[in-house]
C-alpha cells in the first residue's frame, strides 16, 4: 500500500476522560484506502523535547469527510503535548502504516483494554460494511475510564468488564461470559498481559486470535528495525509486518 506524508487540519480535539482524548484530523484531498488496525506516525510540533514522531493507532475513518480519528492516552510528554493542539492547527502524519486486521469469520469478538480499544471502532465499522455485526468487549479498571460506549454500541454488541464492577461484569475481560462463547475469530488490542491471557485461552479453544502490538519505534516504515517482535520466523518489524499478528506466530504468546 502506498504511504503518504501529509498535513492534516485539526477539526476537533475532544477530552474524553482526564487521560484520554480524541482528535479528528482532516485532509484537504481524498483519503487513500485505510485498513482497520493500521496506524499513523504523527509529528509533535509543539514540544521541543519530543524528537521522534509518535506512532498512533487509527481509531476511525470518515471517508466522506476525509477525516481520520485518533484516540490517544496521555502517557508521556509527546502525548501530553498532542493533547494541547488547537482546532485549526495542522499536524503532519505519515500514513497509512502497517498491516491491519484481516476480516475473517462471521461470528467475531473484538476485545480492547485501555487505549487498545482505539482500532476496534474502525474494525467494527469494517465488519458492518460487509454485513457482520461483531461483539465488542471492553475492559478497564472502573467506569470513569469508559468512553464512546454509544459509538461502540452502534456498530457492535457491546460488553463491558470493569475490575471494580462499577459497570458491566466485575473482573477481567477473560472473566466475561461472552468470552466463554465460541467465536470464529478473536481480535484484540490492549496491554500485553491481557492479550497474552486472551491468546492463551483462544488457543485452548482453537480460535484464531489476532493481536495488535504497540512496540516502540522510530521510523514506522521498516527502516530503523527498532520495533522488532520475536516470531517463529525470527525478528519481524512491528511497523511493517504488524502491528497485527496472529498470536500463534509470536513467541511468548
Amino acid at each position: 500500500m502506498k504511504k503518504y506524508c501529509k498535513d492534516f487540519k485539526v477539526v476537533e480535539n475532544t477530552s474524553l476522560t482526564p487521560s484520554f482524548f480524541r482528535l479528528t484530523l482532516e485532509l484537504d484531498e481524498k483519503l487513500p484506502e485505510i485498513n482497520p488496525g493500521q496506524f499513523v506516525e504523527i509529528l509533535i510540533n509543539n514540544e521541543k523535547d519530543v524528537f521522534l514522531r509518535r506512532p498512533l493507532s487509527i481509531h476511525d475513518v470518515y471517508e466522506d469527510k476525509n477525516q481520520i480519528l485518533i484516540l490517544v492516552q496521555i502517557v508521556g510528554k509527546g502525548t501530553l503535548a498532542l493533547s494541547k493542539v488547537k482546532v485549526g492547527e495542522y499536524l503532519n502524519m505519515v500514513f497509512p502504516l502497517g498491516k491491519g486486521f484481516p476480516l475473517e469469520g462471521e461470528k467475531v469478538l473484538l476485545i480492547g483494554g485501555g487505549c487498545g480499544v482505539a482500532p476496534l471502532m474502525h474494525l467494527s465499522r469494517a465488519f458492518n460494511n460487509i454485513g457482520i455485526k461483531p461483539h465488542t468487549l471492553i475492559g478497564c479498571k472502573t467506569q470513569d475510564q469508559l468512553f464512546s460506549t454509544q459509538e461502540y454500541s452502534s456498530l457492535s454488541t457491546l460488553h463491558i468488564a470493569t475490575e471494580d464492577g462499577s459497570c458491566g461484569i466485575k473482573g477481567m475481560v477473560t472473566d466475561h461470559p461472552i468470552f466463554k462463547e465460541d467465536f470464529d475469530v478473536i481480535y484484540t488490542c490492549g496491554p500485553t498481559p491481557m492479550m497474552k491471557a486472551i491468546s492463551k485461552e483462544s488457543k485452548k479453544k482453537n480460535i484464531p486470535c489476532y493481536v495488535s502490538l504497540e512496540n516502540t519505534m522510530a521510523c514506522g516504515i521498516g527502516a530503523c528495525l527498532c520495533c522488532v517482535v520475536d516470531t517463529n520466523e525470527g525478528h519481524k518489524c512491528t511497523c511493517t509486518e504488524g502491528p497485527v499478528f496472529l498470536s500463534d506466530d509470536l513467541k511468548d504468546f
Partner: protein, 305 residues
C-alpha cells in the same frame, strides 16, 4: 522533470555524486522503504543496511530510546546476510540511478573479507563502506575501529579483495580519531565516513531499569552534531582522504557546516525517521544556499574552517 543542479556535483575517488547528499546506513533500509516519499535517484548516494556474512537476528527488543535531541539504538546489525543481498535485494534495487554503497560489517577479518569479495562482483555497486564502528555488537564492529593496528589490518585485508571505492566508517568512541584515520589512510582506504553513533545509555527512573535490552547503545541525531563536526574537522586537517560527514544533520545548513569543516559529502541518517522526504528538501536548499552566497560550487568553501 526535475532540474539537476550541476553545481552540486562532487567526486569521491571514483564515485561521481549528483549532489553531496547520501543516506546513512541503517536509517534508509535498502531505499525501497522510502520510494513513496522521494525519488531515490535524486540522491547523491545511498548506503544500504549493514551486511554481514550470514543472517543476523540482532539484539533483543527493546532496541530504541528517545533522548534529548536524538535517539539511542541497539539494533545490532540485524540483516539477512550477504548472500540474500546478492541474490535478491540487489536485483530489486540495482535500477536506482544513484550510487548504491553497501555497508560491510563483520565480527572477524575473514567475515569482512568474505562480504567485501562478494559485493565486489556486483556491477551496480560502485563502492562499500567498511563498518568498523558499530557499537552494538559483542564481537568485532567497534573493536576494529578503536585500535590502530586492528583498523589497519582489516582495511589492508579488505583492500586485497576489493578494487572499487573503499570508504571506511569510523567511530567517535576513541581517544584520538586522527590516529585511527591516518592508520586507515595508510592501509589503502579511498575515503572516510565519520562519525558512527556515540556510545551512550538511557535509564528509566520509575522502573529503575535501563531502556535498552543491551543497556548501552548508539546515540544519533542532533545531539551528536557538535561531536561529529569536531571529528570531521580534526580528520580533514590531518589526512588527505575525502570525508563523508554525518551525525545529526537535519537541514541544509547542518550539511553545509560539515562541508565548511572539510567534508566532501554528507549522510542523512536519523532525520529520515522524522521526515522521510527530508533528503530532497535538503538538496533543494543546498542549491538555494549557492544562489544566496553567489557561489559556483561548494568547492569554494570546502574546508575553509
Amino acid at each position: 522533470m526535475k532540474v539537476i543542479d550541476k553545481r552540486l556535483e562532487v567526486k569521491i575517488k571514483d564515485l561521481n555524486l549528483k549532489n553531496p547528499i547520501m543516506t546513512a546506513s541503517g536509517t534508509f533500509g535498502y531505499g525501497e522503504e522510502f520510494e513513496d516519499f522521494l525519488d531515490i535517484s535524486s540522491l547523491g548516494g545511498i548506503i544500504v543496511k549493514g551486511t554481514t556474512g550470514s543472517r543476523r537476528e540482532g539484539n533483543p527488543y527493546p532496541r530504541m530510546a528517545e533522548t534529548p535531541s536524538g535517539m539511542l539504538n541497539a539494533v545490532g546489525l540485524q540483516n539477512k546476510g550477504v548472500d540474500e543481498f546478492c541474490n535478491n535485494v540487489y536485483d530489486r534495487i540495482k535500477h536506482y540511478n544513484t550510487n548504491i554503497l553497501v555497508n560491510v560489517s563483520g565480527s572477524t577479518i575473514e567475515e569482512y573479507v568474505e562480504v567485501a569479495e562478494k559485493i565486489n562482483s556486483l556491477e551496480k555497486i560502485p563502492g562499500i563502506e567498511l563498518n568498523i564502528s558499530c557499537p552494538n555488537v559483542k564481537q568485532g564492529g567497534m573493536g576494529f575501529g578503536t585500535s590502530c593496528p586492528m583498523a589497519s589490518e582489516v582495511v589492508k585485508e579488505v583492500r586485497k579483495v576489493y578494487n572499487k571505492t573503499l570508504i571506511v566508517k569510523l567511530s567517535p568512541n576513541v581517544t584520538n580519531i586522527i590516529e585511527i584515520a591516518k592508520a586507515v589512510e595508510d592501509s589503502g582506504a579511498d575515503g572516510l565516513s565519520l562519525i558512527n553513533t556515540v556510545l551512550g545509555m538511557a535509564v528509566d527512573s520509575e522502573k529503575r531499569k535501563p531502556l535498552l535490552s543491551t543497556i548501552t547503545g548508539g546515540l544519533s541525531g542532533p545531539a551528536i552534531k557538535p561531536i561529529a563536526l569536531r571529528c570531521v574537522w580534526q580528520v580533514a586537517k590531518n589526512t588527505k582522504l575525502p570525508i563523508i560527514g554525518l551525525g545529526g544533520i537535519m537541514s541544509a545548513s547542518d550539511a553545509i557546516e560539515f562541508i565548511l569543516v572539510g567534508a566532501s559529502a554528507v549522510q542523512i541518517g536519523t532525520a529520515n525517521f522524522i521526515d522521510p522526504s527530508i533528503c530532497e528538501k535538503i538538496i533543494a536548499e543546498m542549491s538555494q544556499y549557492l544562489d544566496r552566497h553567489n557561489l559556483k560550487s561548494f568547492d569554494e568553501i570546502r574546508g575553509i574552517i
